[in-house]
Amino acid sequence: MKTKIIITSIAAIAVSAGSLMADEDAQLVIDDEAMTIQADAPAHMENVDEVLSGWIFRSRETQALQMDDFDNPAFIFVDQALDLWDKVDGTEGKSCSSCHEDVAEFAGLRTKMPRVEDGNLVTMEELVNECRTDRMGAEPWKWSKGNMTAMTALIGLQSRGMPMNVAIDGDAAPYWEKGKELYYTRVGQLDMSCSNCHEDNYGNMIRADHLSQGQINGFPTYRLKNAKLNSMHGRFKGCMKNIRATPYKEGSPEFKALELYLASRGTGLAVETPSVRN
C-alpha cells in the first residue's frame, strides 16, 4: 500500500513538471549557431530568477520550424523585404540601398531598440519611417502592415544571436518607469495586468496553450494563427483585447514605453527575429 502511494505521488510530480514546458532540455540551434534561450534575470526583475525565450514554451513541431531558415515561414517575408530594400520609392528617387550599402550594417541594432534619441523614445518602426518620409520623400508605412513587419524582420535578422541589451538608465529611465508601471497595472473587464499571466503564471496552461514570459526578443514573429509576421504592438493589442481592455494605439507612448520595459526584461536572451510562434 505504501509503495502504491509513493508511485502515484511520483507520477503526479512528473505530470506537473511535464506541463511546464514542452522539453526543458531543448536547444535552439539555427545554422549551427546555438541561441541563448535562458539567462539569469536582470537585477531589476524582482520576482523572476531566470528569463526564458518563448521558444521553450512551444510544441516540438513549432520549435522545429524555427530551427531551419527554409522551414521558417517568416523568411518568405524577409525575402520580400530584400526586394523592398532595393525598390526606389518616393519623390527623392531613392531606395534603402541608396544610402545603406548593405543591410548587414544594422547588425546589433535590434538588441538596443527601442532607444532614446534627443529625449524621445524611438522604435525600429519609427526609424524606418523617418528614412521613408525625411530622406526618400515617400509615404510612411503603417505600423503592422506587411511592408513594415517584413522590413523590421530583415533588419532584426542581422542581429540574430546577439544578446538583448537595451539602455534603461539616463534619458531612458522615465520611459522605462512608465513601462514598468503599465506592466503591473491591472486593466480591462478581467482586471488583469501583464504580470498576472507572464510573471505569475508562465509555464502554466491558459486554455490549451502554455503561457510564456512574454519576451519580445523574437519579434516580429511569424504566428501560425494568422500566417503572417506580427509586430510587437500588434501583439500587445491582442493581449489587451484578451483581457477585455481597450487597447492603446500602435505607436502610442504607452506601447513604446512597454516595449522598452519588456525589452529590458529579456536582457541576455538572444535576438531570435524572425521567430515562429503559435
Partner: protein, 109 residues
Amino acid sequence: MAKGVKPRVKVPKTAAAGETITIKTLISHKMESGQRKDGDGNIIPRSIINRFTTDFNGQNVIDVTIEPAVSTNPYFQFEAVVPEAGEFKFTWYDDDGSVYEETKKVAIG
C-alpha cells in the same frame, strides 16, 4: 496576376552518385480558392498554382496537380535519386498563365 510570388528551393549542393537527397520547395502565393466572397457578396476569382513539376537533366522527377484546397504558400518536400551531376529544374504553373521557374545544380562529390 498574383503579386509577391517568389519560389524558394533547398537542394544540397553536392551528393554521392546514386544518393537519395531531400528537396524542399516553397512558393509564396496567396492561393485564392475561388470559394470566398468579398464584402459585397461577389465571388473572389480563383487564383492558385495548379501544377508543380521537377525535372532532373530533362527527366521528370515529380509532377503534382494542385487543387484549391491547398493553403497559402504551397510547400513540397520530396526525395530524389541523383545518378549523376546535373541540374534540377522546378516549375510552377499559375492559373493566370504565369510560369515560375527555378534551377539548382547538384555536383557529385
